[in-house]
Amino acid sequence: MSLLEIKDLTIHFQTEDGDVKAVNGISFAVEQGKTLGLVGETGAGKTTTALGILRLVPEPGKILSGSITYKDQDILKMSEKDVQDLRGNEISMIFQDPMTALNPVMTVGDQIAEVILRHQECTKAEAQQRMLEMLGKVGISSDRAGDYPHQFSGGMKQRIIIAIALACNPKLLLADEPTTALDVTIQAQVMRMVNELKKEFGTSMVLITHDLGIVAESCDAVAIMYAGEIVEYGSLEDIFDHTAHPYTKGLFGSIPRLDLDTERLQPIQGLMPDPINLPSGCPFHPRCPYSARECMEQNPAHVEVTPGHLVKCLHCDSISQEVTAS
């Protein structure tokens, strides 16, 4: 039984210019204690998916269909009150931009203690105690609890956000590009800390990123997103060693590799499609080197190439053979 199971989730933003089709019928599952990497370019719908799990999709976004089953309960059918009890407690989120994610007029200590007081039956003093403990865990000295966010650097703010997210021992952590906004030197450090804390608390995680290096280090399973769809989904090994979707292949082609003697990187041609006017058929076909006539006409269904390895491509068989051959 998976901890979290998402089925056919569709989220659109209804704007004046038309529906922005951010997430289009995606399904995936997160197993107890495991990490799922949600990978894709900016705008693929990763953040919207994470916000959808917490039912925090901003206006004018609407969850149109699907189910999000967490511990046998559909989050989408819960009362607002019950969802609030989950947020920050059972499921919590680390946000992408630490510079703006903290309230500028509240001390960081209060911001951490706030989530503890909300979800745990404890006195203020106990919450204070727990807050200081969390600060210590993320490597910030306790005498800084009374400081305001503007007195911290980006990396330290991200630590504080992590402390908030983990303060109530969540079962599921949604980490939305937790390191993108940080310096490279701080990135590895923060990721290491997240992984250690995750192990310590036995937390499951959805790790949103576009960095395949981080995926290789931290994830057990991977879902590749493109234009609001999951185009390839499988174990870390499936994705890295038995790549079957041309987009995933393209992603790997965009990373410099020292072990292969390639002259040039092969970036994916073109840009992401406008989410208001998605191309007909397979949304990737305008950029796909394997594109054929049928790709323009039909949007392929998922094919299970090996057990647990799903690919959404009409030509996945030939591609996976090609990859294995190389």
């Binding site: 933003f13 951010a22 992401m272």
Partner: protein, 304 residues
Amino acid sequence: MNEVKTPSVDAPEKTETVRLKKRSYWGEVWHRLKKNPVSMICLAFLAVMLLGIIFATVLSPYDYTAQNLAERFQTPSAAHWMGTDDYGRDLLTRLLVGGRYSLLIAILSVAIGIVFGMIIGALCGFFGKYVDSVLMRIMDVIMSIPGMMLAICISVALGSGVFNTALALAVGTIPMIARQLRSSTMLINGQEYIEAARSFGESNFKIIMTHIIPNTLAPIIVQTSLYIGGAIMGIAGLSFLGLGVQPPTPEWGNILNNGLDYIYDFSTRWHVIVFPALFIVLAELAFNLLGDGLRDAMDPRMRQ
């Protein structure tokens, strides 16, 4: 492939900025403005009013100065659509002609404010340091005096008249425009294309004229509408105090002020108050709403 654009699912409002590429900047602003019914109504209203004001003496059978004491205080009728005033003059004709003075003063004052504000703002933003601190302290001083008080003071000193009234109102707007321009100049001044222009050895004057002013002008132009609305209100206030354009020259403010002398006879002479007030309020409303619409059209993210 021409449908392919930069995606932005996480922030749906960004898709609109992406679309800018299709039309020119002002074309896009106009396109968005056209979709806003309130702005279009305001624009139509202002156009009709402007035509009426320009052709007032052609359209109206009455002379705006001709007194006819036999027809004093007539309420609206087929002959006098808005009635007559205390000298028996046709009120509508006077209001239309008065609009020439009111709008002229308003536009003139905003023009003076923008020209001086822009020069000062650009100088401050571009040169920084001493020029900036000296000029900005002076602006702070002017801003520390309530706008209406300053206008009263200048009006008193300069005396009445179109230009003097415009100048009196303009002085208060100079610091506002200067401040805005200063910050946008500083923003642009840090951009790399200014560095590039400097590296070609372009003169400061040329950089200000070709790079800074055009790039900071757009937001100012949009605010013109709001400033004109404010100036109309200021003129009315000055007229109410007996400053500004003096009768018998008609001007909305002094026509209203004249009507207010008869406030205790409102039940029979209501039109000498209501119509001038309507002209002032509607004109100002139209300029304000148009300004709001323009601002939204220029920056769709501001729309709420």
